[in-house]
């Protein structure tokens, strides 16, 4: 048996893998997530049309209903929107933007929150008090309000053309900054516990730099809860992005995310073209539900008290 096969076998027999194999919900959620992520990643190759190529768009194809209804065509499986864009393709491309923004925002939040939490917990004193009071203040506002504020400031500060170009990054920043508190609080708490343990004191006696102790000793011992928060936060971040896009302050309409699509469809919902809002909305629900279920399973699987 090679070393690689041995490692694979160990991973397969690991508690987490065992719990995964024996949880139908986790398996279903993983499959759904894989379908969503796969569809989003492979959109340019599997989408039947390119919704952003204006040469192939035909305005007279606009408002085509889904294929199975009376006047639908097989060309547009889920129908088209007002500009004749294929709904299935826009959803695939939209999921790409939603997922991309969500994941990037979570990564940004996690790095920011974990760093501040580590510093706060390990160094303590006035820095700790300051960071935690800022966190308290931020928690007293809804996350969406913080994101709106950052987005609004960026709109005022940046010239319009530049803002359109940077819209996605501004969105990542806005959602990312609005979510760091949870990471910082959790990591600070775990850091306080780890800091009191003798292995950290041993590293101090050896003369390691505080930064090295934080990164090499404390960080690996506080990442468990971060993983769970991050998974659940992916779902929240996707929702926040969709909300912002629905309100019209998210990504520009030239690069629609799922939230943008729902907003566009919302205009036609009452005039009978229900599919324009419904299908992107359904895609959003499935994606968020799947990621949430995965996060719940991970939280339970990593909690020894619930086993």
């Amino acid at each position: 048996m090679t070393a690689g096969a041995g490692r694979l076998r160990r991973a397969w027999n690991h508690d987490l893998a065992w719990s995964f194999r024996h949880s139908p919900v986790a398996l279903l959620a993983a499959v759904l997530t894989l379908v969503c992520v796969g569809g989003a990643l492979l959109a340019p190759w599997i989408a039947p049309h390119n919704p952003f190529d204006s040469a192939t768009l035909n305005l007279s194809d606009g408002f085509t209903p889904p294929a199975w209804s009376g006047s639908g065509t097989a060309k547009y499986l889920l129908g088209t929107d007002d500009q004749g864009r294929d709904m299935l393709s826009t959803i695939l491309y939209g999921a790409r933007i939603s997922l991309g923004v969500g994941l990037a925002a979570v990564l940004f939040s996690a790095v920011l929150g974990v760093s501040l939490g580590l510093l706060s917990g390990y160094l303590g004193g006035h820095l700790d008090a300051f960071i935690m009071r800022v966190a308290d203040i931020q928690l007293s506002f809804p996350a969406i309000l913080i994101a709106l504020l950052i987005d609004g400031v960026a709109r005022v500060a940046l010239p319009p053309e530049l803002h359109d170009q940077l819209a996605v990054y501004v969105l990542v920043l806005a959602i990312g900054v609005s979510g760091w508190v949870q990471y910082a609080r959790t990591v600070r708490g775990s850091t306080l516990v780890e800091k009191g343990k003798e292995y950290v004191q041993a590293a101090r006696v050896i003369g390691r730099h505080p930064l090295a102790i934080m990164l090499r000793h404390v960080l690996p011992n506080v990442t468990g809860p971060v993983l769970v928060i991050a998974t659940i936060h992916v779902a929240t971040a996707i929702i926040t992005e969709a909300t912002l896009s629905f309100l019209g302050v998210g990504v520009p309409p030239t690069q629609p995310s799922l939230g943008t699509l729902v907003r566009i469809g919302n205009n036609f919902l009452l005039s009978g073209e229900w599919w324009i809002a419904l299908f992107p909305g359904l895609a959003l629900v499935v994606l968020v539900l799947a990621v949430n279920l995965l996060g719940d399973w991970l939280r339970d699987a990593l909690n020894p008290k619930l086993r």
Partner: protein
């Protein structure tokens, strides 16, 4: 003083206060005063080169705080600590270079090793920080040598701490402490978390290493049997102060300070079995409000008016030193 006879470590009036006040907002709103806990109060002693000095005392007497003050985990509130004649806190001394010559062994072998690190990384950490090895091969060889020195196998380096028993983990702790070639080891109750059968193994290992490597130990313990086994000299601490300091044999044969006598009477031995025993009377006073005069006077059968007002200093007596008015006046 010539370097060879100079004490390796010297504490001069070392003190440490802990701020146990309520948070700032409570102090302002409730008018609660700032409160200081005097964990170590004016402690002075020398550790001679090559000896084992033990510090004993009840829980909360400040012996662990002394250990942490010496290795720099806590800062001194007052007084000073010299290592090899140099003040550790003085600006002109390179404290980091001095601290490399001392290491610490901790009490809880289950908490003192990072659970996410392999043993070889744990043991090699001082080598990496101090850049003692030129390459990976030299580092690996040194780690293997250290593991063998403490009675483990070189292959154990690949394992994680949770694969070892408490005694084996304490051996790993010792290997890590020895890694940077220190001269002075501060051992904070290194055997109190271990089974009795394993305690002796670890103590013998420490004695053997001391002989082979010429180490100096400061040995913190509350177990008098262990102290008798390993120590050359013993300091007895009570409520943050050293009350008696003497050669180990002398201290166990003829304890001078009433508190030391009380501790000695509490040691169980075979001749006494079946006979009624004098329990240690009274409780340790609240360190936030220590008694005036001699801190031991509320529990002391020999206390008089002077003991209640005047604080006794550590004064030489035959074979050691004791801080007691009764001993000084010849009443005891």
């Amino acid at each position: 003083m010539d370097p060879a006879s100079r004490p390796l470590v010297r504490l001069i009036g070392a003190s440490r206060d802990f701020d146990v006040s309520r948070p700032w907002l409570n102090r302002v709103l409730e008018g609660a005063p700032r409160r200081l806990l005097r964990a170590v109060d004016d402690v002075s002693f020398d550790v001679r080169r090559g000896e084992t000095l033990a510090l004993v005392g009840e829980s909360g007497c400040g012996k662990s705080t002394v250990a942490r003050l010496i290795v720099g985990l806590y800062a001194l509130s007052r007084g000073r600590i010299e290592f090899d004649g140099l003040d550790l806190a003085a600006l002109e001394t390179d404290a980091a270079a001095l601290r490399r010559r001392m290491q610490m062994i901790f009490q809880d072998p289950y908490a003192s090793l990072n659970p996410r690190w392999r043993v070889r990384d744990i043991v090699a950490e001082p080598i990496r920080v101090l850049r003692l090895a030129d390459n990976d091969a030299a580092e690996g060889a040194r780690v293997a040598e250290l593991l063998r020195q403490v009675g483990l196998a070189a292959e154990d380096g690949e394992k994680y701490p949770h694969e070892f028993s408490g005694g084996q983990r304490q051996r790993i702790s010792i290997a890590r402490a020895l890694c940077g070639n220190p001269e002075f080891l501060v051992c904070d109750e290194p055997t109190s978390a271990l089974d009795v059968s394993v305690q002796a193994q670890i103590l013998n290992l420490m004695a053997e290493l001391q002989e082979r490597l010429g180490l100096t130990y400061l040995f913190i313990s509350h177990n008098l049997a262990v102290v008798l086994h390993i120590a050359d000299r013993v300091g007895v601490m009570y409520l943050g102060r050293v009350v008696e300091l003497a050669e180990a044999a002398q201290l166990f044969a003829t304890p001078r300070h009433p508190y030391t006598r009380m501790l000695m009477d509490a040691i169980p031995d075979l001749e006494m079995s079946g006979k009624p025993r004098t329990p240690v009377a009274g409780e340790v006073p609240n360190p936030l409000a220590p008694p005036a005069g001699c801190a031991f006077h509320p529990r002391c059968p020999h206390a008089n008016a002077r003991c209640r007002t005047e604080r006794p200093q550590l004064r030489p007596v035959a074979g050691g030193a004791a801080a007691c008015h009764a001993v000084e006046e010849g009443r005891l």
